[in-house]
């Protein structure tokens, strides 16, 4: 299997710069969903958590990511109906929905947390999702809990 390394940023502003504050993103990704893509943590603004299955996306770990300083959290899971462990991505979606609601209730804004179904090895999808997340953070601003 060919391994593709995806580094961020691919172009433009370095996340090591002070003005990159407020763009800290933690990505939880199912190993199957990512496929041959390696998410490289070559900057201090991106954290990745490799999960054997997206069913491990428990509410507490998503909240812990925000406690650790994330401005946004992304969860990447297998396509609907294609979870290697059958129901993992369904459980992940429900838990993400619950935490989004919780984030709204405590005033952090549930839009900081999102879940996406991606096909294994779809590099362009991952780049697009990260780009969209960064774009969303411009409007949302840094997490008020940091």
């Amino acid at each position: 299997m060919t391994t593709t390394t995806l580094t961020w940023p691919s172009a433009g502003e370095s996340f090591r710069e002070p003005q990159a504050a407020g763009r800290r993103i933690t990505i939880f990704h199912c190993a199957s969903a990512i496929g041959g893509i390696t998410l490289s943590e070559d900057n201090s603004e991106l954290r990745t958590v490799n999960m054997p299955c997206s069913s491990l996306t428990r509410e507490v770990v998503l909240l812990k990511a925000f406690e650790a300083g994330a401005d946004a959290v992304v969860v990447l899971v297998c396509p609907e109906g294609a979870c290697h462990y059958l129901e993992g991505n369904i459980r992940a979606r429900k838990r993400v929905a619950k935490v989004k609601k919780l984030l709204d209730e405590i005033g952090l804004d549930g839009r900081r947390l999102n879940i996406y179904n991606i096909s294994p090895g779809d590099r362009s999808a991952v780049e697009s999702i990260i780009g969209q997340t960064v774009s969303d953070l411009v409007a949302l601003g840094p997490s008020p809990a940091c």
Partner: protein, 222 residues
């Protein structure tokens, strides 16, 4: 099991607002199985509260501990050290557990984090249903294993009322008519004759109307 539901984040946050150091005390029995107050729920609530208080500019310290049960001294005493180092306790146990902890640690405010709702079962994935009101005099065998006290909206002992439609309760159309179930089961087991017997007015003295009940088991006292 005792079924409960965690209070809203807004209500919990308001209760904890006056304190700078609080303990979230979970219970590993009934409320764990209904996802209201077990170890996972304590961890999730603690993380959410830290974020919420941090957003408000507060440095509230949230301590976490879950014990096996909050209704027995044997387990409650394990929480003594954690309770002593906090200003208040948010108990995620049922009403019995909250009161037990409050009575054993009277100097520390013990706040309820769960609304206790009913005695029930896990009917199917995600659905908890009330089955028992704890009336103190179980005669479900008379009714084909269905309790009309807890499951009939009118608590009829000589039902049906005749108001059900399509097997659904007249008072609460979202629930099954208990007497429909009783009769259906009686037919299946060939025991419809039992339903013809008149059930006299109930002696409610064993029920919950006269204050706190007690059960003393002298055979277990050394």
């Amino acid at each position: 099991m005792i079924v409960g539901q965690q209070k809203s984040m807004a209500e919990i946050k308001e209760k904890l607002g006056p304190f700078s150091r609080v303990l979230l005390l979970g219970c590993g029995t009934c409320v764990k199985t209904c996802f209201a107050g077990g170890e996972d729920e304590v961890a999730t609530l603690a993380a959410a509260l830290r974020l919420a208080f941090r957003k408000d500019g507060k440095n509230t310290i949230i301590d976490e501990l879950t014990i096996e049960r909050q209704c027995e001294d044997e387990f409650i005493k394990e929480a003594a050290a954690a309770i002593a180092r906090n200003e208040a306790v948010l108990s995620l146990a049922c009403g019995a557990g909250v009161q037990m902890v409050a009575s054993r640690f009277g100097k520390v405010p013990v706040l309820p984090g769960v609304d206790t709702t009913f005695l029930g079962v896990l009917e199917k994935q995600g659905l908890f249903t009330e089955k028992c009101l704890g009336c103190g005099n179980c005669i479900v065998d008379t009714f084909s294993g269905v309790c009309p006290i807890s499951r009939c909206a009118k608590k009829l002992l000589n039902g049906p009322c005749g108001g059900s439609r399509g097997g659904k309760c007249e008072v609460n159309p979202g629930t099954d008519c208990a007497w429909q179930i009783i009769i259906d089961r009686a037919k299946e087991s060939g025991q419809t004759d039992r339903l013809k017997a008149y059930i006299p007015p109930r002696d409610w003295r064993t029920s919950y109307s006269g204050g706190s009940r007690q059960l003393y088991r002298e055979d277990h006292v050394i």
